[in-house]
């Protein structure tokens, strides 16, 4: 009888162990997310990623998202990265290059999926645990369209020198403009006080690089440009209705979905090193006729035909 009781106890313990193991297997996974800045571009990307994750994990695994929206500066990015590492999340997702580099600098073994990086091939992202997706927009088209609607001898470029991808865009468009005899002027926005610099600028047009800082204060920037009668173009699809003359952008939803797919594969056991990074190149072009009218600019009809969307 004792032997039977002992066997039953062993079986019971084994069953309890299996149940406990199974329960642990279904325990929620935690994904830490860091936005380089709390701006509409990254928010749209994040919504798209969450929506895709919910579809993929529905009924399979519970996912907890820990979202970090630091103010765009190196200390805040670094603090956010350290917090998520301290939480021991299963995966980190970053939007934008600054947040991505901040996580990489911490040399954690937590897998990292990035999205919203401009030309990730040139971002020098190192690490066995890193993969993700970025985008590329042909900046030459911005110059081409500006030249189609007005004489362009000078181009102001809004850049944030603390964001590497913003700086890369600045350097690329500067080179392109100078090749076409267009003088360029760097307008570095590293602090809120820098926005005031725009009031003294006399450029024929302004290009706003994909900087989180610049987009945090985009409304203020656009008011200044509007008062100075200077048209502006952007590669983020933030505010076509509020003062940009044109946007040429890669839709953020696609990157959010791709980041979710990569996150899903990693959570299911794939190694980031085995998942190829990807650069999305499909773009949309928006012309704002309301803004054009205010600026006294007429878009030729054949040019309007190129737009994916025209704001009237």
């Amino acid at each position: 009888m004792k032997a039977v009781r002992s066997s039953l106890r062993s079986i019971l313990l084994a069953v309890l162990f299996v149940i406990a193991s199974a329960a642990h297997g279904q325990a929620e996974k935690r994904i830490g997310v860091i936005m380089t800045g709390d701006i509409p571009y990254y928010r749209a990307m994040h919504e798209s990623m969450i929506s895709e994750l919910n579809k993929r994990f529905a009924g399979v695994e519970k996912i907890e998202i820990i979202l970090q929206r630091p103010f765009p500066n190196p200390i805040s990015w670094s603090n956010s990265a350290r917090k998520l590492i301290a939480f021991d999340v299963d995966l980190i997702v970053t939007y934008g290059e600054a947040a991505t580099q901040a996580v990489i600098r911490e040399k954690s073994r937590i897998p990292l999926v990035y999205a919203g990086l401009y030309e990730p091939d040139y971002a020098a992202l190192k690490g066995q645990h890193v993969t993700g997706c970025g985008f590329k927009v042909p900046l030459s088209s911005i110059i081409r369209y500006f030249k189609s609607i007005k004489a362009l001898t000078s181009l102001g470029i809004v850049v944030s020198s603390i964001e590497d991808d913003s700086v890369r865009q600045y350097e690329a468009i500067k080179l392109l403009a100078e090749q076409q005899n267009v003088r360029t002027e760097k307008i570095d926005i590293s602090a809120h006080a820098d926005v005031e610099k725009l009031k003294t600028k006399k450029a024929d047009a302004i290009f706003i690089t994909g900087s989180a800082l610049a987009h945090l204060w985009l409304d203020e920037i656009l008011v200044i440009l509007k008062n100075a009668n200077i048209p502006a173009a952007d590669i983020f699809p933030d505010s076509p209705e509020t003062g940009l003359l044109m946007n040429l952008f890669q839709p953020s939803q696609a990157q959010g979905q791709m980041a979710a797919e990569m996150a899903w594969r990693i959570i299911r056991g794939e190694k980031p090193a085995n998942i190829s990074a990807h650069t999305l190149r499909d773009t949309e072009l928006v012309f704002n006729l309301v803004q054009a009218k205010q600026l006294g600019i007429t878009f030729p009809i054949h040019l309007l035909m190129e737009a994916t969307r025209v704001v009237k």
Partner: protein, 302 residues
């Protein structure tokens, strides 16, 4: 019930019969004999900048009207493929047609090819280009899988038939599944801009439109890579209905072919942005028919 006298009924019958005879004879006239027209309606296939195009053609039409004593009226067809429908309705006497629509019009409507303008680079022909952005990483057909492609219009040789024939020659029969997306931009220039902007990965358009854009903005050449090109075909051909009086057709052809020999003609040619006109040759369209056969599975839909 009112009573109608027999004499009135007879008169009515005669009137109806007379009207019917008039109707039949007037509708049959255009196909029954050569027409002595006092005006010709000539169609133009739309280009990217339609206002600039109409202005150029208006200089030519005014000159021809003055010289011929026959008013030349112009009409723009809403899109490339409309030419066959317009001719079938007999509302056009002729048209300046791009290579594939000219081929269709010669074959299906028996139009006579009359003359080709020679552009400012000395060419009366064009060829199709397939191109990508240099930074796209696309170098061959395999690289195109899952990408997006933009054509011009189903009725263009350079912007549709050629790329289709090229893809089919490389074993690609199902473009709908091979590409992530395919679109028609409506003009050669729009196709080029779509690839430049990244709105499409691969484009197909004619070399003359490509070269013109590069001439205006040399940076375009640095950004795009031509990965395939078609043989040369007549770019624009003036085609006329056979029913037009042969005397008038001959006079029109002679006038066009000798325009560059008079100061007034040269001035109009300069505004039309051409050096001269050369005689069109029906045999030049054989290559386009061959290309259409290669792409027959898709062409049959149009």
């Amino acid at each position: 019930m009112s009573h109608v006298p027999p004499s009135a009924l007879g008169l009515a019958r005669q009137l109806i019969a007379g009207l019917l005879i008039c109707l039949f004879t007037t509708t049959a006239m255009p196909v029954a004999a050569a027409e002595q027209a006092d005006a010709l309606l000539i169609g133009i296939e739309p280009e990217h900048n339609i206002f600039d195009q109409m202005e150029r053609y208006r200089f030519l039409a005014d000159y021809l009207s003055d010289q011929l004593g026959v008013k030349i009226n112009l009409t723009t067809m809403s899109r490339y493929g409309e030419v066959i429908k317009r001719f079938k309705a007999l509302s056009l006497d002729g048209a300046f047609l791009t290579s594939y629509t000219a081929t269709m019009a010669i074959k299906e409507l028996h139009l006579a090819p009359v003359a080709n303008p020679v552009n400012l680079n000395g060419e009366s022909t064009s060829r199709g280009y397939m191109f990508v952005r240099k930074d796209s990483g696309i170098r061959n057909i395999q690289d195109m899988r899952g990408k997006s492609i933009v054509f011009v219009d189903p009725a263009t040789m350079e912007g549709y038939l050629f790329p289709l024939a090229y893809l089919q020659r490389h074993g690609l029969l199902d473009i709908a599944h091979f590409f992530n997306r395919f679109d028609f931009s409506g003009s050669h220039e729009s196709t080029i801009f779509a690839v430049l902007d990244g709105r499409a990965d691969i484009g197909a358009a004619k070399n003359t439109a490509f070269d013109k854009l590069v001439q205006n903005d040399p940076s375009i050449q640095k950004e795009l890579e031509i990965i395939a090109q078609s043989p040369k075909v007549p770019e624009i051909t003036l085609c006329l209905r056979q029913e037009i009086d042969p005397g008038l057709r001959g006079k029109l052809a002679t006038l066009l072919l000798h325009m560059d020999q008079t100061p007034a003609g040269r001035e109009v040619l300069s505004k039309f942005k051409a050096l001269r006109f050369v005689k069109a040759n029906k045999a030049d369209f054989v290559r386009i028919e061959e290309m259409a056969r290669e792409a027959r599975a898709v062409v049959a839909d149009h």
